[in-house]
Amino acid sequence: MTMSFSLQLAGGAVVLALLSALVSFFTAGARRFMAMPLFALAGLVALVAGAGALIAGGVATAELPLGLPWLPWQVRLDALSGFFLCVVGVVSFAVGLYAPGYLRGFEHGNDSLRALGGFTGLFLAGMLLVILADDAFMFMVAWELMSLSSYFLVVWHHDHAANRRAAFLYLLMAHVGGLSILLGYGVLASFGGGFTFEAMRGAELSFTWASVAFVLAFVGFGMKAGLVPLHVWLPEAHPVAPSHISALMSGVMLKVAVYGFIRFVFDLVGDVHWQWGVAVLIIGSVSALMGVLYALMQHDLKRLLAYHSVENIGIIFIGLGLALLFLAEGHTVIGTVAFVAALYHTINHALFKGLLFLGAGAILHSANERDLEKMGGLLRRMPWTGLFFLIGCISISALPPFNGFVSEWLTFQAALQAWQLDSGVLRSIVPIVAAVLALTGALAAACFVKVYGVAFLGQARSRAVRRARPVPLSMRVGQGILALLCLLLGVLPTAFIDLFNTVPQQLLGHGLRQATAHGWLWLTPISAQTASYGAPLVAISLFAVLVLGLWLFGRGIRRVRLCDAWDCGFAPPGSSMQYTASAFAQPIRRVFGLLFHMDDGVEPQEDGRLRHRLQVGDRSWDLFYTPVARTVERASRQVVRLQSGNIRIYLGWTLGTLLVLLWLMV
């Protein structure tokens, strides 16, 4: 499949997305059967196009008769775009399959499905266009189209003031981030003399200006990606959107931000500096740690997942930071390893976060419940969702043999080459980052034990959950695809890394051939004797021994007798005696208490019973945001004195202005 054909396919995907938007906007009847299938088809086509681009490994460009008179929209498809097309495509495909069943739950609500479907299509089109853009103007248009349409999706449930507030916060921060990105492009453009990416690549920047551009881009894209402390919109906005939208936003949109960052720093700016690497490393590790800690404190399932997006984005940026560091120091091979690790974690996170949000959506759909404290025992009510959700949990906790582990393993491998660095400072920073990464992984595992144990195991804690029904087939298929891919990417890393290899090949001029030099069984990022991981073998032997064990001892599966729980001989436990989510996280809350803004106490109910009240707030609010808001308020309060209402004072202003100007001019 040639490059130009893939480009046409990608264009076709955009058209299909727009088509699904049109269908939902303008037809009432066709919406139900056509909109979402078209959406899924768009995702599939994008996936094919991306894969084609990765295989062909060339570059194809085109021009659209849109945009400024002297700058028509430039479109370009290369390996990097292809990779991210795959990321967007695969999740969109799954979501497109999942959505029809999920949307049935809304048909009797009083919010218009018309807007929902329409903006979903526009959202996808926006993301695809961002990935295809090859000039700053088109990039910004597509970028803001993405933000705006996703904002409409976030605010779709607009009955609660909290949702409206979240949407406002989201749009505001998206706008600010967009402006910052625009400024960053402006710096490049004013040195490169033109807004096409081609011209920017040619820009010769001094270190200072390059760093200015870098910081602007880092802030802008980081705000969209949700890096601490720019993440506050994320846990507000993602939960309030419909779940398949949350899956798209968390699974895909954040990746588009990552794409922007990679495109900007690795491609457009070109020569990188180790200081940037350090900055990205530090921010990334802070995000990873904070994200997982805040996630542990949540008991709203979708909010928790949103905070985990912060964590995983942090991990991705740790990889990118390592890549920057090693590339800047001239260790191309290791830099490439780190870069590939980041890419790999990008697609991994897209897969399992999409999967988890779809699972949350399934629970919401059948039990209408988001609060962990009210769930329980869902595994027996909805076994398929339970299985898929478990796979998601294992993957995101970075446990072998699933995909999350591969990317973290690669990141560790890159970090372990720190001894090759010349500067002692860097040599000692990298291991600390590795420690943070390890801590993050362990905490994530703890968090998902909590989620799965409280939500799917044990006994139901509320009536709705006790009555939960399995979700329709389409939703199960949507989750199943993602779950299967999580397993595949975990078991066959060599194949996929071979596939992604063209990206560093084109971008850094250096592939990762040695990683798969020893056959498909062995993943050897640096060299066979340095480190190797036989993912297929691990999976196979796990499976084989499991079967063996079941055959040996499992003969007695029938011979298990059911009885009441033992529980040290106390009375058979009721559902209210189970460990709650907050209780589960209590030890960690206590150890890391400094980082949280906690409101913890006991308050009497109106019926006289005591009730435990616990709110864990985000510190970055009072550190960064409240001051800004207060400043604007104060300034505006000062400014309105101009409009005092007395005409004589107004005339006085005119006179004063005139006199001052005369005095200035003469």
């Binding site: 291991p431 190797s532 729980a565 033992w566």
Partner: protein
């Protein structure tokens, strides 16, 4: 990889499950002696396991399918992890499959399902145990990784057999990093295998137990597998410490004599470690749960110091 190597790997893996109860029995025996008791015989753990396998398994009717699958997964994951740690010979085929990070990952997988199994029945104790287990391991795992990273960095490889080879090949330097790493790993091992002062494998006092609280609901073969996995984990850590920090005596070529010698030496080292563990468990008292973080932070600190002293003192030099 030659078939002999694979065969050897298999034998060694089997040897692991064979030896695991023995180490547990030895530690108990020594402890009993230190407390002036005669104690049960060395082979008691084997008899316990046998008894449990023979017994009928019971299960709370609130438990789900996961509750039954968990013991097998836990056991298998632990066993696979163990199979990648050089026991008798450094030339180990399985070590290439799973390097040290994968080993940590497999152990984490086992822990993941152990904790889930604890929460499955929906009893207060199960949840409590799971919560504490994940809490402790969340702090212990990074420490362990840091400790082994120190070795990995010095040997420029995360492949354990390569690390062992490097140790044997290199002159016997006294590395500051190793001192720290060893200390850190010892503390981690204590925490991870649920020994005093972090946890007490013999207690069933509701509020102090961690590991026991999770497997409280298990019985019969399920319980047997869980217990066996725990013993396997203990052995794994023991071998890790013994063979990686003091690799002398491990067989470098596949010959009956060398292997026999290696086995003897290994048993010697393990007995020594067992004594150390028993002594420490006798003289120390179990800590309150919220003292454990201090303990684990110490481990993390030591491990990090090891890593830093490597990158600062030893690479530069």
């Amino acid at each position: 990889m030659n078939p002999v190597g694979w065969l050897l790997a298999l034998v060694q893996a089997l040897l692991y499950i064979a030896l695991a109860p023995l180490l547990a029995g030895w530690v108990r025996k020594v402890k009993a002696r230190l407390q002036n008791r005669r104690g049960a015989s060395l082979w008691q753990p084997y008899q316990d396991l046998y008894k449990l396998f023979a017994k009928e398994a019971r299960m709370a009717h609130t438990a789900s399918i996961l509750f039954r699958a968990a013991p097998y997964i836990v056991f298998v994951a632990t066993w696979l992890a163990a199979a990648a740690v050089p026991l008798l010979t450094s030339d180990l085929a399985t070590a290439a499959i799973a390097d040290v990070i994968v080993i940590a990952g497999l152990l984490a997988l086992a822990r993941f399902f152990l904790a889930l199994a604890g929460m499955d029945v929906g009893t207060a104790f199960g949840g409590m145990g799971a919560s504490r287990e994940m809490f402790v391991s969340a702090l212990a795992e990074p420490a362990m990784l840091m400790a082994v990273f120190t070795l990995a960095m010095t040997a420029h490889s995360t492949n354990l057999s390569a690390v062992v080879d490097y140790q044997l090949a290199g002159a016997n330097l006294l590395r500051p990093s190793y001192v720290f790493a060893l200390a850190g790993l010892l503390l981690v091992a204590i925490a991870e295998t649920g020994r005093i002062p972090v946890d007490n494998p013999t207690t069933h006092l509701e509020l102090t137990m961690i590991h026991e609280a999770m497997i409280l609901e298990y019985s019969g073969r399920h319980l047997a597998l869980m217990e066996w996995a725990a013993q396997l984990k203990l052995l794994l850590y023991g071998v890790l410490i013994a063979n990686v920090f003091f690799p002398w005596g491990i067989a470098r070529d596949v010959g009956a004599g060398a292997l026999g010698l290696a086995l003897v030496v290994l048993l010697g080292k393990l007995m020594l470690l067992g004594v150390v563990l028993a002594v420490s468990e006798t003289v120390l008292a179990k800590m309150r749960l919220f003292r454990a973080p201090a303990f684990l932070n110490l481990a993390l600190l030591l491990a990090l110091l090891g890593l830093l002293s490597y990158v600062i003192l030893e690479v530069g030099a």
